[in-house]
Structure formats: structure tokens, C-alpha cells
């Protein structure tokens, strides 16, 4: 069936994109000492805006500002007052949600329906949720008086720019820390609008500092002797490097890294529901999700029928301009990422996996990838082992639930997994046997600030969200602090 849709574009004007953006240090938008960099709109491959980047001296200033704000203001303020600032920020995000959604889609390339219905509202919810913890730290199960760690250095990725900022900043502030945070090089805009919201909320200067730049600035930040806590979300390779660099410093570290999530479909699954879950698992945000369900494990007895249904559904996905409200799959964030996806996809073909691509039309400019399914792959292929971080699904079959578990766990990663079965006891049994931090049973890609999120094994350590997410920014009596070292 051919579904014709008229274009339904959201207006780019709503984002009120400025020509140039500045880093935010000690409560002011300041000129960074580094070169200006252009951020690209991946939907068209054209420059969107430029922004000033910082130098290591600027990082020093930001860390010093955060330390001052911690010692003189933030650590002396009551939890209830801290919480009220966070509530204000949550409200501020909600009030400017339409602008933020359009800006996020322009800078990142994600469909407006996702930035509008997921990224921005969930970012606001994260501030609202954590605001409530600020005066209740004694109820976290960390003893009667858990202490803030001090200054947190945070580095976030480009796949959910505003949401990751909220995930990092909200618990840090609620726990009583101050923050120096670096957004990704390709997506700095939404967090710099968030800085305006922080300023409008009259958050004291230095409590949150936003430094812009590339990996060298991130490295300078996490290695800065003036910080007490490092939180990083990004690739496993960089996470490994950070962990090695911090050896012997006693600095508290949480890492949220890559994944190769297994999405397991058993023969008794409700297949139409499972198809929707597989689609959501790998094509949400163009598959640029650390917990993406990038490995489909389907039981051999239904594999052929299931893959036919899946392909029929994927063919209906509309790949198009991120600002079109009908778009299901938007643009890949950058040329670099596009090339990585292409390279790994070619490796899959070269290794002999059978490839299927949706015949959907692609926009004639910008960075797009048609939804891709490797319909038959083996455990040893790179496309089964390595994180592709794109709209590319790898299929492996299995015969028994035990085999499914063995294959699902056969990876150094351990971030997410999905199970599709109508048998509740089997779902729960498999959930227990899967070595991953988040298990979605008959659903996928659900997130909530009240539910802890984070990895097993080489997907990192530490949690974000829930009580455990707060614990990542606090020290209890029997836990090390930097000062004690």
C-alpha cells in the first residue's frame, strides 16, 4: 500500500537560531579563547550557526568558578532551596519546549516528533524529578548525611544533546555539587539555550558552567585536578581511556558507554507487537542510541515469517527532513558518523551477511541512511559484535531460549536487552539471565528519571536515574572522597 503524505514541516524560525553562540562560564556568556567552529545542520549538510570554543585556560576558569560557587553558595544552601532552583529550570524548559525541540532537530538531525515528544519533555522531567531529591538526601539509603562530592566534570554525547545535559546536571545539582559540562562538538546549541534558562532561573553564577570544544577540551576537563567527580557518556574506547587516565586519583567516576543490545523474539511472541518493538529499538533516533536493540535474535521456527513482517513494516518508515512532522527516521548527525555506518555496513556485506535495505526514497542532500537489516549474520561478524550506532539491524537466529541467552550475553557490552514472548514466567526468567543493565520485556527504549539506567561489563558503571543515580553524586561515610586521598 502506498501512503501519500503532504509535507508537514515545522518552521525552523521557531528555533530562533542565532548566528553565533558563546560558552557559559561563571554566570555569563563569554568569549572562549579558542577558534570559532561551525555546527552543521545534518538535514541539509549546511552550516547552522557558529560558536566560540574554549581553551584549557578557560577550563581552568570554569573549574575555579564552579569551586567558588560550591564552597561559597551551593554547599551552604539548604536542600529545599537547591530544589527550588531545579524546579524553576524544569519549568523553564517546558516553557521554551517548542523552541528547544526545533533547535534540537536542526542541530542534531532527529525527527521533530522525537525531540518534541521525547527529548525535551523528558529533559524537563529529569529536572523536576531530581529537584525533589535535593532536600531528601537522608532517604537515599546512603546514611543520615550523604555529602556532595564537590565539582563534577561532565562530558556528554551528540545523540541526545539536551536530554543528556539534563541527565548529568540535574542529579549533580540536586546532590549539592556544582558542574562544568562539555557538550559534543557537533551539538552545542540546545545546552547553550539551556544556559539562558539557567540564567533566567537566577541560578547562582558558577553552579553550572558550559565549556565548548572538541575531545581535547573534554580530556582537559576530566583530567583537571580541581574536579572531584567525572561523569562521561560516550564511546567505550574513550571511556576506557578516561578510566586509565584517572588511575590513582581517587576521583569518583561513572561511565555510560556503548552497547550492542539483543532484542530477542521467541516463537510465542505477539509478532505485530514485536515488530513495532524491533523497529523502535533500532530506528529510534536513527539507531544512534547507546542502548539500541541492534541485534535481533529471532527463534528459527518463526524467523522467515517474522523477517517478512518486519521488512513490510520497515518499508513504511518515512526517511526525511527532521522538521517534517511525518518523518520517522531523520538525518545522521554528522559526516563522520555517516562514514562509520557506511564502513561497518560494507564490512557486513564483505563478510557475507545478507543485506536488505528499505526501498524508501531518501532526501537528495544531507546525511541519510535507509533503514537496513542484515537478515542473516553470524556471531563472529563485525556487524554482530561492534556498535554501529546507526539504523542498521543485524539478525541472528536461535533454536532454544538457552541458546538465545548465550548469544545475547556473548558480547563485552551489557547495556540493554529486549525480550518478546507471551509467557510471563519465561520473560522474567530470561530477564534474570541476561547480563545487561536495562531489560525491556515486551517493550523497548523506555526511559524515566525514576528508573535507574546504566551498563554491565564494558558498557560502563554507575547509574543515572532513581536512587542509584543520586548515589553517583554523593559520598557516604564509608566511601572514599577525593579529600581523603
Amino acid at each position: 500500500m502506498d501512503w501519500e503524505y503532504a509535507p508537514a514541516p515545522e518552521s525552523a524560525d521557531i528555533a530562533a537560531v542565532k548566528d553565533r553562540y558563546l560558552p557559559y562560564i561563571d554566570g555569563a556568556f563569554v568569549e572562549g579563547g579558542g577558534d570559532d567552529v561551525k555546527t552543521i545542520n545534518p538535514a541539509e549538510g549546511e552550516p547552522l550557526a557558529s560558536y566560540s570554543t574554549v581553551t584549557t585556560e578557560d577550563v581552568d576558569r570554569a573549574v575555579a568558578a564552579a569551586r567558588r560557587a560550591h564552597d561559597r553558595v551551593w554547599s551552604r544552601m539548604s536542600g529545599a532551596e537547591r530544589g527550588k532552583y531545579l524546579f524553576r529550570i524544569a519549568r523553564g524548559i517546558a516553557e521554551r519546549s517548542r523552541e528547544l525541540a526545533v533547535l534540537e532537530s536542526l542541530d542534531n538531525g532527529k525527527p521533530i516528533k522525537e525531540s518534541r515528544d521525547f527529548d525535551v519533555p523528558t529533559a524537563a522531567q529529569h529536572f523536576f524529578y531530581h529537584a525533589g531529591w535535593a532536600d531528601k538526601l537522608q532517604h537515599l539509603g546512603l546514611g543520615p548525611a550523604p555529602r556532595a562530592l564537590g565539582v563534577a566534570g561532565q562530558v556528554i554525547p551528540w545523540n541526545f544533546p539536551l536530554l543528556m545535559a539534563a541527565w548529568k546536571i540535574a542529579p549533580a545539582l540536586a546532590a549539592g555539587n556544582t558542574v562544568v559540562i562539555k557538550p559534543a562538538e557537533t551539538t552545542p546549541l540546545s545546552i547553550l539555550v539551556l544556559a539562558e534558562i539557567l540564567a533566567d532561573a537566577e541560578l547562582p553564577p558558577g553552579v553550572v558552567n558550559i565549556v565548548t570544544g572538541a575531545g581535547d577540551i573534554g580530556s582537559a576537563l576530566v583530567n583537571h585536578p580541581g574536579i572531584d567527580k567525572v561523569a562521561f557518556t560516550g564511546s567505550t574506547a574513550v571511556g576506557r581511556r578516561i578510566a586509565a587516565e584517572l588511575a590513582g586519583t581517587g576521583r569518583k567516576l561513572t561511565l555510560e558507554l556503548g552497547g550492542k543490545g539483543a532484542n530477542i523474539v521467541l516463537e510465542d511472541a505477539a509478532q505485530d507487537q514485536a515488530v513495532e518493538g524491533i523497529v523502535n529499538g533500532i530506528f529510534f533516533n536513527q539507531g544512534q542510541v547507546c542502548c539500541a536493540g541492534s541485534r535481533l535474535l529471532v527463534q528459527e521456527s518463526i524467523a522467515e515469517e517474522f523477517l517478512d513482517r518486519l521488512k513490510a513494516r520497515v518499508e513504511t518508515l518515512r526517511v526525511g527532513h527532521p522538521l517534517d512532522k511525518n518523518t520517522d527516521v531523520g538525518a545522521i548527525n554528522s559526516v563522520t558518523q555517516l562514514n562509520k555506518i557506511t564502513e561497518l555496513t560494507e564490512a557486513g556485506e564483505a563478510e557475507g551477511a545478507e543485506i536488505w535495505r528499505s526501498p524508501c526514497p531518501l532526501p537528495d542532500r544531507g546525511y541519510y541512511v535507509a533503514p537496513t537489516i542484515f537478515t542473516e549474520a553470524t556471531q563472529s561478524m563485525r556487524i554482530t559484535r561492534e556498535e554501529i550506532f546507526g539504523p542498521v539491524l543485524t539478525t541472528v537466529t536461535f533454536r532454544t531460549p538457552d541458546e538465545a541467552i548465550a548469544k545475547a550475553n556473548n558480547t563485552p557490552y551489557g547495556l540493554s536487552a529486549g525480550i518478546w514472548t507471551e509467557k510471563g514466567s519465561r520473560a522474567m526468567g530470561m530477564a534474570a539471565a541476561l547480563r545487561a543493565g536495562v531489560i525491556w520485556d515486551n517493550t523497548f527504549n523506555r526511559f524515566d528519571p525514576a528508573a535507574a539506567f546504566g551498563g554491565y561489563k564494558e558498557s560502563g558503571f554507575g547509574r543515572e536515574g532513581g536512587l542509584a543515580g543520586m548515589a553517583a553524586y554523593l559520598s557516604s561515610d564509608d566511601e572514599p572522597t577525593t579529600e581523603a586521598k
Partner: protein
């Protein structure tokens, strides 16, 4: 005629058995005055690897045991330790040159420490897990699970109490351990292994290597089948900072969880929960709550 005593041969403890080091090496354990106490096995890299294999094997049985059962086994270890309190008191007072009364107090505290952790096993999920009030039709919960195989460097200053204080939380969480004993106190460590061996602990749940942390550590820290490190025994003298950095760097390559206490712990103090939490993973599960017609809405 006086009875000629039968001195004990101190060997390693791997997979529930007491093998000699495959290397055939030994070293001399001495008492406070430097006099000969015993020959201890000087564990090699191969012994360390064997211990990791045994710990991985033991994980299924130990992590898979019910929390109640794990608690009973750890309590049983306390019973066994109580029964051999005299022997440990003698070993400690000889090895460290302290009075029998001081040594006996350490043994009593060690027994109590085991009892403390025996009571933790079936409360971890209640204390560190949660039911998550998510905004959607899902039942979401987060529950702790064991991290896996933990390499523990036992502290040097506290031969029995320190050892028990670092091993028990690892076990209580359902993990298995490769324990690198304090080089100075192999006799206490191996005698404690005999306690564990008679406590219904599954083979491989705890493995004890005697020898040199600086020799064994780098191999264990780099071993891909080790999931976590407890560096308590590496930070309790300042000269070890370089070793600590080396081990942390090696651990980073496979993103092991690393626990480093902020300072040398006073093991006589009641333990907090930091050690327990260091070797637990939190798993969040989302389960749909079903059709709206079943979930209702009129109940309120």
C-alpha cells in the same frame, strides 16, 4: 616421650581444593621476631589464572544460590571460625607479636563480621533496589545482582579481621573472589580457607593465593574474566601508589569496577555499605502492565 608436633603445609586454595603452586615455589613466613613460622606457597601467574577459572566456574553455583542459602553458608563460616578461635588466636599472636587477649578480640570481631554479612544476603534487593514509579503503563523495578568475579587484595595490617572484612561483603553480594592474601600473613589466610572449605561454600566461590601482590596483581587486573578489583591491600602502605596506578590502568582496559578505600579502614569499626555496593550491578526491568481493560481505572 614428648610428642613431635606435625606442622601444617600451607598450600593454595583454588576451586575448593588445596593445591601447591604449580611453580613449585615457596616462601618463608616469619613471626614478629623474624623467626621461621612456615613455608607458604608462592603463587604464580598460572595459579592466578587457575584461580580466575575456578572463580568463574563457582559463580553459577554461588550467584545462583538463594539469598537465604548464601546467608546460611556465611553464617556457617562464622560457626567454623568460632570452633577454631583458639587456633587463630595463636596464629595472630605469634605472627604479630600481640597478646593473646588482643588476638582473641580480633577473632571475636571477625566472627561477628561474618554474622553481620550473613544477615545481608536476603536484604540487598530491599535496601538497594527499588520499584520505580515510571510515567507509563509499566511495572519497572531495579534490583542488585552480583558483579561477578572480584579480585581482592587483602589488607596487611589486620590478618584475620581485615581478611574477613574484605571477603565477606564480596560473598554476601553473590560474587566469587580471587583473594590475594597479605604476603606477611599466609598462615592466617590459608587457615581461614580451611574454615571456608568446611562451610558448604561451593568450590571456587573463594580462592586464596599466597604470595606477592606486586607479582600477581598486574595479571589479575588485566585478566578479562575478572570483573572487579578491591585494592584495599594495595593502598594500605604509601609505597604502593605506583602499583595501585598500574593496577587501575590495567583494570581500565576491560572497564572493571575498582574499589579503593579513601584511607586505611579501621576494621574494628562497624562496616558501612560501601563495600557491598561496590560489587553489585543494578538491573532495571520494564514489564508492561497489560491491557487497559485489565488494569482498570475505576478502582479509585
Amino acid at each position: 616421650m614428648a610428642h613431635l608436633a606435625i606442622p601444617k603445609t600451607y598450600k593454595l586454595f583454588i576451586g575448593g581444593k588445596f593445591p601447591r603452586s604449580e611453580s613449585g615455589r615457596t616462601y618463608t613466613a616469619t613471626d614478629r621476631e623474624g623467626k621461621f613460622m612456615a613455608n607458604a606457597a608462592l603463587a604464580s601467574r598460572k595459579d592466578a589464572r587457575d584461580a580466575v577459572v575456578a572463580a568463574r566456574k563457582g559463580l553459577a553455583a554461588w550467584a545462583g544460590a538463594t539469598p537465604y542459602n548464601r546467608g546460611q553458608v556465611i553464617y556457617r563460616a562464622a560457626e567454623m571460625l568460632q570452633g577454631r578461635a583458639r587456633e587463630f588466636t595463636d596464629l595472630i599472636s605469634t605472627g604479630r607479636g600481640v597478646t593473646a587477649r588482643v588476638a582473641a578480640a580480633e577473632v571475636e570481631t571477625a566472627i561477628d563480621r561474618l554474622v553481620h554479612y550473613a544477615g545481608w544476603t536476603d536484604k540487598l534487593a530491599a535496601a538497594f533496589g527499588s520499584s520505580n514509579p515510571v510515567s507509563g503503563p509499566y511495572f519497572s523495578y531495579s534490583a542488585p545482582e552480583p558483579t561477578g568475579v572480584v579480585t581482592v587484595f587483602a589488607p596487611t595490617g589486620s590478618a584475620l579481621l581485615g581478611l574477613v572484612s574484605v571477603v565477606a561483603p564480596v560473598l554476601a553480594g553473590g560474587n566469587t573472589a580471587v583473594l590475594v592474601a597479605s604476603e606477611a600473613d599466609p598462615c592466617v589466610a590459608i587457615t581461614f580457607a580451611e574454615v571456608l572449605a568446611t562451610s558448604d561454600l561451593p568450590g571456587g566461590a573463594v580462592n586464596v593465593l599466597t604470595g606477592r601482590a606486586a607479582e600477581l596483581g598486574p595479571h589479575l587486573a588485566a585478566h578479562a574474566d575478572v570483573d572487579a578489583l578491591d585494592l584495599t591491600g594495595v593502598v594500605d602502605h604509601p609505597g604502593d601508589h605506583e602499583l595501585r596506578v598500574e593496577l587501575e590502568r590495567a583494570a581500565a582496559q576491560t572497564l572493571k569496577r575498582v574499589y579503593v578505600p579513601g584511607s586505611v579502614p579501621d576494621f574494628a569499626e562497624p562496616p558501612g555499605t560501601g563495600r557491598l555496593r561496590a560489587f553489585l550491578e543494578l538491573k532495571t526491568v520494564w514489564h508492561p502492565t497489560g491491557a487497559v481493560s485489565l488494569a482498570g481505572g475505576s478502582a479509585y
